[in-house]
Symmetry: none
Subunit: 211 residues, 4 copies
DNA sequence: TATGAATGAGTATTCATTCAT
DNA sequence: TATGAATGAATACTCATTCAT
């Protein structure tokens, strides 16, 4: 029997590990996936490589994941969780500050730090994974960012009696994230990140006050 | 990208060999397929085995065939051609004889001989190949057999002023082919094939005269 | 210690289930085997699939069976038992009737009905299971059929004072079973099964009276 | 003689086509490359596919390119040329206008139009080609953009007596290109591109006047 | 006994690349 | 120069079977 191929990327895990042993295995696989992406790029990510680096058999990989795409999806989810946790923490900072610009700077700095920490991995995810934007985690991250920005600014806005048009908010979000991506992944080493962040925070704040 | 599997058995060749070299390669692959089926059964038929036995690279196999099913299909076509050639020759015999029973006996004998020649291969094709009845060659063979029988008997019928109901013809065909298959593939060695063929010819002839 | 390359298939159960629960499990496995064969063909029959469909663990499957071949063998035995029971019942019919043709028709009808009931399963068993003819149940079934035919006809023969040569009996048996197989598994839907059975019964009876 | 495990990608053509026919072949290959990237993604780009779609032999492909990376590089160069030509044209517009904001809007609109025209191809290049940022054309494009922006604004600046810090220029460039990429490749269909461009032009102009 | 996590040999298939014609 | 047949290393994925719990 021949088999026809059709693109039906499946990002869900086949089975959720319940026992302790299997949970450790799955964790090792996801970590192996991250390491391989960093060191060899997406072209170097093979299921066999994941198995080898994780120290499990290839059979075990397919026990839990339908293919490497699902491992990447799981990795993205872990990164999303880390980011979300951080953002929520930084949001509190926003609340307690009276200076909008300082709060903004903190927010950007936190994001920037996290992105730098995973720079190599991020570069591969952004520039090489063909289905990154179909990943549930990616969609959630975008929503999350938007929500955090909106909620955070809402309070500030009330404080400052600011009104922000949705258009402006969208522009701010893309402008900020675009600049951060650019800064982290593409800027030449001569560029001083801290200065760019300062400048970005200033611009965004001004923008906001005028929007 | 994951790929979904759907049963879409493809029996057609990917490419028809045009150059002499490639035609020799394809022939070697089909012969290898036959040998492997005989010696290891259908479970032993792998594309890698075909390549190895044929003395070509695995890449060459996939150059011409989409999968092993297509190689089997091609083998079946070659066997069909051999059978058809034989039947047509034997049909002439039918024409020149005046004794219906003798003609029938010759016809059955010829088929039986051919089947015995490929006994091992036939056994595997009939009892192990899951898609044998979907093969174009199988359908053609059935039609061919039916046609040969019909045409051959038509002349005899005119000679003898016999009338044969379609129901009877179907029964004769299945009865004959069933018995032959049984005789060639399943009969214990104690059974005397020649006697069975004699008896079958007699029965069929009587049947015909009464039908 | 001989290690054969060619696996020597083992059709026997490892352990006979004694407790009620074990027997239920084994029954579930065999039924799962039947369902899978019907729905996915022999290529789809894996020990893991059997375990899943049967709702038991893969470990339990190997507790009772040395491999999937033994499960198929067990399934064949169950089918043999069903067939034997039916045939014996139908044989009684033969005894009480005075018309040989009617009795023969009943016999064929009963067999045909049973085969139709398991048509899909039968098709897979006959055309895909490589070791069907090595199965104890298959051999027994053949013997049983032969025996039933012989015994049944013996009485009839005495009644009618008929004498049947062994050659004829063999031909009748293969002719009948071949036609039935053809009718159930390969006939186009345009063929009227009842008519074919009528015709077959007539022929066989005539045959018998002449044999 | 060092043999690197990690293949050192070669982006240069093996041979520059001199004859007319060769030039047509190479053009066909590059166009085929573009079509395949659009329709099948980078994973679908194989040298064999390029040859087939271009209607040339696989041997010819390797006659001119050392591998598919070089074909992509050549494609990128063609796109660079198209972009450069357009930008230079739009730059003239900037010169002749008195309203900075309108000029900026035209500039952004022109870029946006070009990007939309190649949206599918651009998406694959940006998000799937692992070596996009190593491509000579990519580096040149960045320089070109920066240069155009700098030159264009220099004149405007003189006109308006504006002074722009390098930091601000960098921020403007990344902010603009990031927003455009986001708009063209990632924005949900609900986003009104024209409005975003208006807003972006306004912000950049204000930014400039304050910088 | 029963479970199911883990194993890894084995199979199908692709695709960059060479080279005889 | 151009062709395209041939190669084979590399990759995805399955499934029979074992064994610690």
């Amino acid at each position: 029997m021949r088999t026809e191929k059709r693109k039906v990327t499946d990002f869900a895990m086949k089975k959720v590990p319940s026992q302790q042993r299997s949970r450790a295995s799955v964790k090792a696989m996801v970590q192996a996936c991250a390491r391989i992406l960093e060191e060899r790029g997406y072209a170097g990510l093979t299921t066999n490589a994941v198995a080898e680096v994780a120290g499990v058999s290839i059979g075990s990989v397919y026990e839990y994941f339908p293919g490497k795409e699902a491992i990447v999806a799981r990795l993205a989810e872990d990164m999303l969780a880390e980011t979300t946790a951080l953002l929520h923490g930084r949001l509190d900072l926003t609340d307690h500050r009276h200076d909008l610009k300082v709060a903004m700077r903190h927010f950007l700095g936190a994001l920037h730090g996290l992105m730098c920490k995973h720079r190599r991995l991020l570069r591969v995810l952004v520039f090489q994974v063909p289905y990154l934007h179909q990943l549930p985690a990616t969609r959630q991250l975008q929503q999350e960012l938007y929500r955090v920005l909106q909620t955070g600014l809402q309070k500030t806005r009330q404080q400052y009696r600011l009104k922000v048009a949705p258009e402006t908010l969208y522009l701010m979000a893309t402008s900020a994230s675009g600049t951060l991506i650019h800064l982290v992944l593409m800027a030449p080493p001569t560029v001083d990140g801290e200065l760019v962040l300062d400048s970005l925070a200033t611009r965004l704040t001004d923008w906001l006050k005028q929007g």
